[in-house]
């Protein structure tokens, strides 16, 4: 079976801007336990959490910078610099391992010339591991810029990598 791959919409982010950052922080600061909510919102806007935003979050939530920085670094999702233009995530958990995921991950690394967790030199593709997309019954699985792909095999992987490199 071949799926019709629609061109994935390239994520577009705003450049970091302090006023805009302050706006985003203010919008969520009133929620109880807002740290993660704000970090998510900042990353959604700018593609990463700019270092300059950390003291701003701390001030808005009446926390120390260290506390906010500690939260920021604890979670795998938050980036301290922008990802490549496309993000290809390969599920590396047991169900995908059982279905041949190891070989596919190695193949993707070879094709892109980077190991998992890194971005290609031309900044086009960030290749990342992910631990379980919950598609374990149609393993192995991948996600390209938020689009899910199941029943991954060499052919489908090659198509995904080619799409990511465009």
């Amino acid at each position: 079976m071949t799926a019709v791959y629609e061109p994935s919409c390239e994520p577009s982010y705003e450049p970091w801007d302090e006023t805009r950052g302050a706006e985003i922080i203010a919008e969520h600061a009133g929620q109880e336990g807002a740290t993660l909510v704000i970090l998510h919102a900042l990353q959604e806007a700018f593609g990463y959490v700019p270092e300059a935003a950390i003291p701003m979050v701390a001030q808005a939530l009446n926390l120390s910078r260290a506390e906010v920085y500690g939260v920021f670094t604890f979670y795998h999702d938050f980036r301290h610099k922008p990802a490549g233009r496309h993000v290809l995530k390969l599920c590396r958990a047991e169900a995908c391992q059982a279905a041949g995921g190891d070989a596919l991950a190695a193949r993707a690394e070879a094709m892109l010339g980077v190991s998992l967790g890194n971005t290609t030199a031309d900044d086009r593709v960030t290749l990342e591991p992910i631990y379980c997309l919950g598609l374990c019954s149609t393993a192995p699985s991948a996600m390209l810029d938020g689009r899910l792909v199941g029943r991954l095999d060499e052919k489908r992987l090659d198509a995904l990598v080619a799409e990511a490199q465009r």
Partner: protein
Amino acid sequence: MKMRIFVPRDATAVAVGADEIVTAFERVAETRGLPIEIVRTGSRGLHWLEPMVEVATLKGRVAYGPVSAEDVASVFESMASNGPHALRLGIADEIPWLKRQTRLTFARCGVIDPRSLEDYRAHGGYKGLERALSLGSDTILAEVTASGLRGRGGAGFPTGIKWKTVAQAKADRKFIVCNADEGDSGTFADRMIMEGDPFLVIEGMTTAAITVGATKGYIYIRSEYPHAVEAMNAAIKAAKRGGYLGDKIGGSTFGFDLEVRVGAGAYVCGEETSLLESLEGRRGIVRAKPPLPAHHGLFGKPTVINNVLSFAAIPFILAEGAKAYADFGMGRSRGTMPIQLAGNIRQGGLFETAFGVTLGQLVDDIGGGTFTGRPVRAVQVGGPLGAYFPRTLFDTPFDYEAFAARDGLIGHGGIVVFDDSVDMRKQARFAMEFCAVESCGKCTPCRIGSTRGVETIEKIINGERVIENLALVEDLCNTMKFGSLCALGGFTPYPVLSALKHFREDFAPIPTTLQAAE
């Protein structure tokens, strides 16, 4: 009459092309000049047949699958003429794999439109809450306790007792927290129910709220599940509009508000106290217990924290009565368990059945063995912290105590099948490595033990002093098992020790003259 076609919006179906199929159906219908209505449902859980599409007929919904975009034109032809087709599976409800199940929690999943409150109600939704509103707290607690429901997230703690503790606690505010941080590989039931029947989760949480006197609830969903986040947010909005959330729920004096919070990629946040820390905006570091969350939970207030499946089981219990639920199951494992079949399996998907079915039945019979066609060698039950079972233990019945008796755990009900190409040394190493990466760092056995575990297993793989290092791993596992604060460090020994015990041949020492002399 417009043809009604059902196409799942479930992430699994989408990952194998469901969205493309919708587009293809719309094109074909337009070309043919036949009006159609496409309803996006959840998944019925027959994932090897996804995308599985259905069409409404006078005799019931007829299913086709697995359908690809190229098949759509001919499938449409068959639907319109009620004619034969190679992918035609017959009446969906009569498909044997589906018919064999006991669907209490997943009865509506794949059937209804998960965005429609009306559809939910038309299929018996909110019947449980309406009865709960007429019963009062004590009677609800008695029902939940009598149902025998144990937390479906993994620990298996009796839900009735947990709720009662919170109900009896005195506080100005109480919370209901739904743990939707389903991080275990091989599990996807939480995701499926949130995407396919989100009102069920809301109804379960609302019932908990009126029982214990909570006014605010949170669903903490892992960020790896964007589709579930979207589905829950849409359902919360619809429930608010319909008067099922907010003030005066269902015309009563109870008020309850619900909010989705998204995790940020930390496996340990599936542990309940880490999850609470994360919800409070901190690093997801485990809390020492006691105090229990039931006394001192979110923001220091009494909190009911349950897994998605536990809340999802509640509406049936209230609607049909505790006995109707408790009549299913075996021993102290009552009711049904949505079992998730995954990995290298021919018929993967979700199979809800009463406790007591054996592991072998699940893997060989229901799952149909491996899709590679090679022999099944190892089966990991219960996620990354679950034990690997060999074929010799396939007679183990699916039951909390029976699995525990064989040094395993049911966990969240995920089963991952491996064929004979699996290298168990690698799997044991992975379990330690996963723990090392995901440890919150609070306790030493987990934080340091897992790193030393990776190193020691690597030495074994490299053939260095294998006998001594095997003994060292076992010793380390004991320290982790009994010395860790939470299940991450405490259960990582399960996959490691089970691999050592049942698949010893993979770890067999390379014979050296020295060892031979011993």
